[in-house]
């Protein structure tokens, strides 16, 4: 029996609507916060957050900064894919931040200190993240350690580890690592001419790689035997075991892949030379946590992640354009945190919407039935 279902019933549409609702509410809360801080410039400030590179006066500059936003989107997208992939298998990879660090650590260390070419740096970075993910997975599978807690612990271990490893790669002039341009040109990512297109040297193959990974993750989860097994393991561990899947192997494999994705993000970002690592950093990079936001905002869909990652980068960058004499750039972090908080309600939103729809439908059926009954009654009398 196939019924024509209304658009509102469509799960994809509901997810999309919920995400848009989260964004709008998040921006409203952000606006309210700006109003509280200083009512005069609040409207202008929230607009500059939303506009980001459109704040630039010329179209060339806009294109350049659009390119830079894309360059920052790539690592975020990979982190969000990492979170998403693990979440589909029932694991919450809050350790993405640490895996990201390790990707950076290995890539920069091998690039600067060992002068290895970019592809080897990238591969080793990915491996480092995968190993860290594997540790999480093994602890979960064999020792029943909650992945959230082990992930957080590994985040801090990775952060300090990265600092230690990158000490030799530090530019004595500051606290940051050397720029690759000056010390390790062979480790720079190729740009495939996109550099010219955007007139920005940071626009590298990282961007197409990240988008490609999103598609690969989508295919693996949706179309393959591996995805079938992993999702079954995530949804019902006991059933997976019952039908002979190697449930522990699946958990570990998931974390290896998730770790690799996050680390790839870190390695690609730093190998594009966009930014340098501060070897005294005392807080775990926010990229991993923003990845969580992007994954949920994207409705836990790899393709959705592309857009949500871009959006989050867009407003985080946009935070830099607020009038600093009254406001601070972190207002954007605040907005993305509010958005994730709201994402927690997506399920509630959907259930609510569906129950409303059910009720409406029932009333319709009831009415139809009453009408039909009246008809037959009439018919009977006549």
């Amino acid at each position: 029996m196939k019924e024509k279902r209304s658009l509102l019933r469509n799960d994809g549409f509901q997810t999309f609507a919920a995400s848009v609702l989260c964004i709008v509410l998040g921006l409203i809360v952000g606006y309210l916060a700006l109003l509280i801080i200083n009512a005069d410039g609040a409207g202008k400030a929230i607009m500059s957050v939303i506009k980001n590179f459109f704040n630039k006066p010329t179209s060339a500059a806009r294109l350049k900064y659009f390119g830079q936003t894309l360059a920052k989107t790539a690592p975020l997208l990979l982190c969000s894919l990492s979170v998403l992939f693990a979440y589909k298998v029932g694991l919450f990879n809050i350790g993405a931040a640490g895996q990201y660090c390790l990707g950076v650590a290995l890539a920069l260390y091998l690039g600067i200190c060992k002068q290895w070419p970019w592809y080897l740096c990238l591969i080793c970075g990915i491996c480092a993240g995968s190993i860290s993910g594997a540790v999480c997975g093994i602890l979960r599978a064999y020792c029943n350690v909650n992945v959230v807690i082990s992930g957080i612990m590994l985040n801090w271990i990775s952060l300090y580890g990265t600092n230690m490893l990158l000490k030799p790669a530090m530019d004595p002039a500051g606290k940051d690592t050397f720029r690759l341009v000056s010390k390790a040109k062979q480790a720079l990512l190729p740009t495939l001419g996109m550099e010219k297109l955007f007139n920005d040297k940071y626009v590298t193959i990282a961007i197409p790689i990240a988008i490609l990974m999103a598609i690969v993750v989508w295919i693996v989860l949706d179309k393959t035997k591996l995805g079938y097994e992993l999702k079954a393991t995530g949804n019902n561990l006991n059933a997976a075991k019952y039908c002979g899947m190697k449930e522990n192997r699946n958990i570990i494999l998931t974390m290896v892949i998730a770790g690799g994705l996050a680390a790839m993000g870190g390695a690609l970002y730093y190998l594009s030379d966009f930014t340098q690592w501060n070897v005294n950093s005392s807080s775990v990079p926010g990229m991993g946590f923003n990845g969580i936001a992007a994954a949920f905002l994207g409705g836990l869909n790899p393709i959705g992640s592309i857009f949500s990652s871009f959006f989050i980068t867009h407003i985080t960058d946009g935070g830099g354009y607020v009038d600093l004499s009254h406001y601070c750039a972190q207002i954007a972090d605040f907005i993305s945190a509010v958005i994730i908080y709201l994402c927690g309600f997506v399920l509630f939103f959907k259930t609510f919407l569906n129950s409303r729809l059910n009720k409406a439908e029932e009333r319709k059926i009831e009415k139809a039935r009453a009408l039909a009954a009246a008809e037959t009654n009439k018919g009977g009398k006549a």
Binding site: M1, K223, Y228, K231, N236, A239, G244, E362
Partner: protein, 508 residues
């Protein structure tokens, strides 16, 4: 004139989207009587009780206590009216002591601090008076099911409830414990308590109840005096036709041994003892061997051991002469073992998967469903699912793409049975395959199992329902405390004899 009814539910109607769960039902409980409420699964018994406890508000009808109309909005209101219930699944906090469980919600206290001594005294008194023996300081998870049930009864007595409801109280008890419970119920009625006894077991109703009300498919069928009725009449009222409890099957023609279990021991997850102790038996092709016993005597662990879900501590398992003791689950399955699990939600289904994805859960990796590149062949999965749905009459809202979660229990079970039997296993292990299903579905499943036997395969059936054991099996093995204490021939034995074995009172 004094009102003779303790509680009355008059013309109760409760609708849910799509169904009428209670359709104009009237139930009147006299003071001091034991009143049975009879009905199959899904007849509307639990909905009616939820209405009585204020969990649902009925669309129509009233509830009267001592002749006066009362409004019950939540379980607290029911408690205040002196209504208490022993639920089928006990509502006990497992890591609390018996005493803590009894006083929970009505704790004697001074400025919020617990005063347990007072409570202990009162509990001991009650336990003496009604012959309900418990150790107030024992932890619930360490004590027997019978003692847990006594704790539940004490909970009601401690609250001085006048109306006591027992929801399927005998399902988990041994025949001897059941006998004891019957005595306790009679004693309580004699003390003036009014008892509502919910059951679908005719023998027990005949033994203990004064009157019986029958529900069928949400409708009220009638109330009869037990003294003036027979089992057959009650059964007719319950199912609406003469049921024949006998499954039609030819005598077994056992051939080669397909499963040979040799001295296996399996550890328990719940306690430090072994759940299965040195058990040996054989299953042949062309016969149905049934493991009977009270819940929790090692049947679950035995099946886990054979199917590979739990490792053995010692012993050996042969299938068709091949040693499978160390083989992984997948290998056992591919070699011809199917397992219809006890808990379909825990093991049997991935609830968030669609029906079609659940139907290939045991064979998704076969070349028919996965190509050489590791991609799923979704068109083949769809075709296969459509065939099984057709053949096994699995009903669901959207066919193959219905989420398993959205299906009814009976159809979920049918889907599992389709999946497991269609693999054409030489050994089928079926654990409680008909639990919680309606008569139609039970008949269907029994037929499938017998047909599978007649095709020359071995069947190992684990069941708690004695009727099912008697109807289906060719040989019966009774398990008690992790051991097989007797092998019986269903044609020669009676339910009573089986009961003695199940309770550990007799062994071979």
């Amino acid at each position: 004139m004094e009102n003779q009814y303790a509680i009355e539910m008059l013309n109760i109607t409760k609708r849910f989207p799509g169904i009428i769960a209670n359709d104009n039902i009237t139930l009147q409980l006299k003071k001091g009587e034991i009143h049975a409420l009879l009905g199959e699964n899904g007849a509307g018994k639990s909905t009616l009780m939820s209405v009585l406890f204020g969990l649902y508000q009925p669309e129509e009808g009233v509830i009267k206590k001592d002749g006066k109309v009362v409004q019950i909005n939540d379980p607290n209101d029911a408690n205040r009216l002196g209504i208490g219930m022993v639920h089928q699944h006990f509502k006990l906090v497992e890591c609390f002591s018996v005493l803590d469980n009894i006083i929970l919600g009505v704790e004697p206290n001074k400025m919020g601090f617990l005063q347990k001594d007072e409570a202990r005294k009162k509990v001991m008194e009650l336990s003496e008076r009604y012959g309900l023996h418990v150790d107030p300081d024992a932890i619930i998870e360490d004590i027997t099911v019978g003692m847990q049930q006594r704790t539940e009864i004490l909970k009601m007595l401690y609250r001085e409830n006048e109306i006591l409801i027992f929801d399927e109280p005998t399902a988990v008890l041994t025949p001897q414990e059941i006998e004891e419970l019957m005595q306790i119920m009679k004693g309580l009625a004699k003390e003036g308590k009014s008892i509502l006894f919910i059951s679908h077991k005719l023998n027990e109703i005949m033994e203990v109840a004064d009157r019986c009300s029958v529900l069928r498919k949400g409708k009220y069928i009638g109330t009869v005096e037990i003294a003036n009725t027979t089992k057959e009449e009650l059964s007719r009222m319950m199912v609406g036709r003469d049921v024949d409890f006998v499954v039609h099957k030819d005598p077994a023609k056992p051939t080669d041994v397909v499963l040979d279990v040799q001295h296996i021991t399996v550890a328990s997850k719940a306690h430090s003892n072994n759940a299965v102790k040195d058990v040996s038996f054989q299953v042949r092709r062309g016969e149905i061997v049934c493991i009977a016993g009270i819940d929790g005597n090692g049947q679950t662990e035995l099946v886990y051991g054979i199917s590979g879900l739990e490792p053995l501590k010692s012993g050996k398992i042969l299938m068709d002469g091949e040693d499978i003791t160390k083989l992984p689950i997948r290998k056992r399955s591919v070699d011809g073992m199917s397992h219809i699990p006890e808990d379909r939600h825990k093991h049997g289904l991935v609830l968030d998967y669609t029906l079609e994805n659940n139907l290939v859960l045991q064979r998704y990796f076969e070349p028919e469903f996965t190509n050489a590149m590791g991609f799923l062949r979704k068109d083949n999965i769809r075709k296969y699912a459509e065939r099984l749905i057709e053949e096994y009459d699995v009903r669901s809202g959207q066919g193959p793409i219905t989420p398993a979660r959205a299906m009814s229990g009976g159809n979920q079970q049918k889907a599992i049975i389709a999946r497991e039997i269609d693999k054409n296993p030489k050994l089928l292990i079926a654990v409680q395959p008909t639990r919680g299903l309606d008569v139609g579905a039970i008949e269907f499943i029994h037929k499938q199992i017998v047909a599978h036997r007649d095709a020359g395969n071995g069947v190992l059936l684990v069941s708690l329902e004695l009727d099912e054991v008697m109807a289906l099996s060719d040989r019966i093995l009774v398990m008690y405390e992790g051991e097989i204490v007797g092998e019986l021939d269903p044609k020669q034995t009676t339910v009573e004899e089986m009961g003695l074995y199940m309770a550990g009172a007799k062994r071979q």
